[in-house]
């Protein structure tokens, strides 16, 4: 019973905030409601016995990724709306129809899948989803992919540094002022780098 209450509450929160994020006008509001989505999803993970992954979801998604989003939204604050120019008049209708179609397709796929209606798997085995169990699986069965992700993260760091670097010619005219601006820019770029290091 308790699980039902938690499930319904969390899914309503996740769905409502997800819709509000998708339809919101103000990007900062979108980010805030998306935070609610992420937290309710973490709660759902806990309900499914994924303690470790649920906490990781908060640390990485809510604590790092979304903060980075907020940072960028605020840096670009002045012009972060959608322009008045409409290229495709029917876009909202088409988008709605396509999304509905996707939902129907996914729904039929789920309904026809063999997994539906199978009896409840019962309580999870002892220690299911703990840091230890997930870690053991990660380092035993998924060692190679794990090592590959470190390369991916390194590439992400390099990409962020290359993209975040300001062009060199900006510096010479106002050496000192530009110097501090560069320090600030560097600090922000560093803020981005941090994101990749956390998941490790």
């Amino acid at each position: 019973m308790g699980e039902w209450i938690a499930f319904v509450g969390l899914s309503v929160a996740a769905l409502g905030s997800g819709l509000a994020m998708v339809l919101g006008r103000q990007p900062v509001h979108c980010a805030v409601v998306f935070l609610v989505t992420l937290l309710s999803l973490a709660g759902l993970f806990l309900l499914l016995g994924a303690e470790f992954i649920g906490i990781l979801q908060i640390v990485i998604y809510a604590g790092a990724i979304l903060v980075l989003f907020l940072f960028v939204i605020m840096l670009l604050h002045a012009h972060s709306g959608e322009g008045p120019r409409v290229k495709l008049r029917a876009q909202p209708v088409l988008a709605g129809l396509l999304a509905l179609g996707l939902l129907l397709g996914l729904g039929t796929a789920l309904l026809s899948a063999a997994s539906l209606g199978r009896p409840h798997p019962g309580p999870p085995p002892e220690g299911f989803g703990t840091a230890k169990a997930v870690g053991t699986t990660l380092f035993a069965r998924f060692l190679l992919p794990f090592e590959v992700t470190s390369v991916l993260l390194l590439l992400g760091v390099i990409g962020a540094v290359v993209l975040g670097r300001r062009e060199a010619p900006e510096k010479p005219p106002r050496e000192r002022a530009a110097g501090t601006a560069r320090a600030e820019a560097k600090a922000h770029a560093k803020g981005k780098e941090k994101k990749e290091v956390v998941p490790r």
């Binding site: 996740a14 998306f34 989505t37 999803l41 322009g83 789920l110 798997p121 997930v134 992700t149 993209l163």
Partner: protein, 102 residues
Amino acid sequence: MSAVPPDAYLVLSAVLFSVGALGVLLRRNALILFMSIELMLNAVNLAFVAFARVWGDLGGQVIVFFVLVVAAAEVVVGLAIIVNIFRTRETVDIDDVDLLRG
């Protein structure tokens, strides 16, 4: 009605995925569009965790870990690109960015 069947989580995941897809199709603000993509990733994560529960196999949860890592790398590069576009074109509306040059 004692325990929630894992199928309920799968249905929720499908709906969330469609909501995210709606955002990707509907929005023109690159930042919100990007967040919608994150929502789709999250919906898939939920499905993976639900499958891990159904099969009693932690592989599903480990995949979520990988998705988180990939999402982190993707967001960093993606946001850096958005910032760069903003620097040159003063816009984050993707309809304004339709040329293959700066």
